[in-house]
């Protein structure tokens, strides 16, 4: 029983991270029908930027939490700018071209960012400094829950709620949803679709940077190929919930996190990826529109 509860908390933590990253995939796919393969790498870029700031604080008299907050702010800003530049340089010129051209451009961007990280920070695994956050641990029915886990779960919930309110209860959020349903009609209604797309490339990477830095803080490590692994998981989460569907990405992330935690806890971990991809293929066969249904612009 205590293992069961432990896995629930582990799964919720990882699921919150997946959800934060999945939102970037699903929002971009919703308005552009493009799998932004570079998104996972952008998120890990956030982890590395945070890592650099945190490592520089070691030895100085800076308090941990304040430094961590600063690391988050800088990572968010840099990654959001990188996302915007990516959109302008690699995707905007291809908006009217064959869809596959944009896919290859996205793959190129992913390779570029991943290897850019390797050139700057090197190919080794970097360890996150310890002692940044309180080492408090709570015990619930025999399961240990750490401060970091509680922080990640709460922060993901707050961010997701904020995004949900923004998309469903503001004028600009309505414009995003309108562009995701039908770009041409949205344009006729006076919505600046280019601005909507640019905003999606700021919000998605900003949330992703938080997710990436959470990965670093939670697993206490960062390496340059991490973006692919976590990016693919987050993308699977987006499909699980229904691609283009923002609450779907949140639900998909949490469910996939729980699924992975139980797969790792009860089945062999060397087959964990295979089990996750098996789940993905099963979803695609049984219910390709995801649990909450997809919401995707129909481009002709």
């Amino acid at each position: 029983m205590s293992i069961f509860i432990q896995q629930i908390f582990n799964g919720l933590t990882v699921g919150g991270i997946y959800a934060l990253i999945a939102l970037g995939y699903t929002m971009v796919y919703g308005v552009m029908r493009l799998i932004n393969f570079a998104h996972g790498d952008l998120c890990i870029l956030g982890a590395f930027i945070g890592l650099t700031l945190l490592s520089s604080a070691i030895g100085s008299e800076q308090p941990g939490p304040a430094m961590l907050a600063l690391a988050f702010v800088v990572a968010i800003i840099v990654v959001a700018v990188a996302g915007l530049v990516l959109e302008l340089v690699a995707y905007r010129p291809l908006r009217k071209a064959d869809r596959l051209a944009a896919v290859v451009s996205a793959l190129g961007a992913s390779i570029l960012i991943e290897n850019g990280i390797m050139l700057i920070w090197g190919p080794n695994v970097h360890v996150f400094p310890a002692g940044l956050l309180p080492q408090t641990t709570w015990y619930v029915a025999g399961a240990a829950i750490t401060f970091v886990q509680v922080m990640i779960i709460l922060a993901s919930l707050v961010l997701m709620a904020a995004l949900y309110l923004f998309v469903h209860h503001t004028r600009f959020g309505t414009a995003i949803r309108a562009a995701a349903i039908d770009q041409d009609t949205a344009r006729l209604m006076g919505i600046n679709v280019s601005r909507v797309i640019a905003s999606v490339f700021i919000i998605g990477p900003a949330l992703g940077a938080i997710g990436g830095l959470f990965i670093g803080v939670y697993y206490r490590e960062a390496y340059f190929t991490m973006g692919w692994t976590y990016g693919l998981y987050a993308f699977i989460a987006a499909i699980l919930g229904g691609i283009g569907n923002i609450p779907g990405a949140m639900l998909g992330g949490v469910l996939l996190g729980l699924f992975n935690a139980f797969a790792a806890g009860y089945v062999s971990s060397s087959w964990q990826d295979a089990i996750t991809f098996g789940l993905l293929i099963a979803i695609l066969l049984v219910r390709p529109t995801g649990l909450l249904g997809e919401r995707v612009a129909e481009k002709v």
């Binding site: 799998i35 064959d98 290859v104 451009s105 793959l107």
Partner: protein, 303 residues
């Protein structure tokens, strides 16, 4: 154009006479990857199915040849038909339930197959695949009493197979099945109303593409004399996918040019290993932004 291509192929036979063995092996690897890229073009460029796990079929061919040869002492040429048939069957079985899905979902599913394949090879599935070390000691091919042991002999073998595949691709352009695929890609609804069985045609295209990739895989196992899971990871599939789009969908010279750029040019810049992939990423974006239709797009000609 066809005469120019045929003349270039004949000239290519002379490669071992002018360059040293290192470059002969680069040329052999080019031929092998060109076959694989052409087989990806059947699925992606001609049938319009987004297959981002094509390294699976290359790997299946390589593993079948390696296992049958090393563990069961089959001669290399006897393993090839088995490799082709098995990969074609696997390709058809995997694709059949998925081709009704929208392109992007097929793409993600094939990424999943690739990850599962690599894990299965690494975890030594059925005790045959040798785990992460793979299988070593693949024999050289024997043609009657003639042993194709030298690098030049292996190059000629690869080059002849490439020539055969090029002829096949040219015929595919002209035959009814090729026209069916083009029609399906342009307008599936219109094609089906004229009686085209979309599902059967697409499954067949997937099987042919997978089978040809396995043929290349057999040659790959022979060329390296060793087979391991790292040669068939997802990155390889991405490269094959990119070759078709960067070169030009459905364009034979485009695919060959793409193969040369993606597999051979990196060999030349081996010394700049660290910056290689960084530049590679920039180049992929630049080519797509400047030439979204590919470097050497398919000629439009009156049907």
């Amino acid at each position: 154009m066809n005469w120019v291509g045929a003349a270039l192929w004949v000239l290519g036979l002379g490669i071992p006479a002018v360059v040293d063995t290192t470059w002969v092996s680069v040329a052999a690897v080019f031929a092998i990857y060109a076959i694989t890229a052409l087989s990806e073009d059947i699925i992606l460029g001609r049938a319009g199915m987004f297959d981002m796990g094509h390294a699976v079929y290359l790997g299946l061919g390589a593993y079948v040849t390696a296992i049958l040869n090393v563990a069961f002492n089959w001669p290399i040429f006897a393993t090839m038909p088995v490799a082709i048939m098995l990969a074609a069957a696997v390709g058809a079985l995997l694709a059949a339930p998925l081709i009704r899905l929208r392109g992007d979902y097929l793409l993600v599913a094939t990424i999943g197959f690739n990850a599962i394949f690599v894990l299965a090879m690494q975890n030594n599935a059925a005790g045959l695949t040798g785990g992460s070390d793979g299988i070593t000691g693949v024999d050289v091919p024997h043609l009657f009493s003639w042993e194709l042991a030298s690098q030049s002999a292996m190059f000629w073998l690869d080059w002849v197979v490439l020539g055969f595949v090029l002829l096949l691709m040219r015929n595919l352009d002209r035959c009814e099945f090729g026209r069916t695929l083009r029609y399906l890609k342009q307008d599936q609804l219109a094609a089906t109303t004229l009686g085209v069985n979309a599902r059967a045609a697409k499954t067949l295209a997937f099987a042919i593409g997978a089978g040809l990739a396995a043929l290349a895989g057999s040659l790959f196992a022979v060329q390296l004399s060793t087979v391991g899971p790292t040669s068939f990871v997802f990155t390889e599939s991405v490269t094959l996918f990119a070759i078709v789009i960067v070169g030009g969908q459905g364009s034979i010279p485009g695919i060959l040019l793409g193969t040369a750029l993606m597999f051979v040019v990196p060999q030349i810049f081996r010394n700049l290993a660290e910056y290689r992939y960084f530049v590679f990423g920039i180049a992929m974006i630049a080519v797509m932004v400047l030439r979204p239709q590919g470097l050497w797009p398919r000629r439009k000609r009156a049907a």
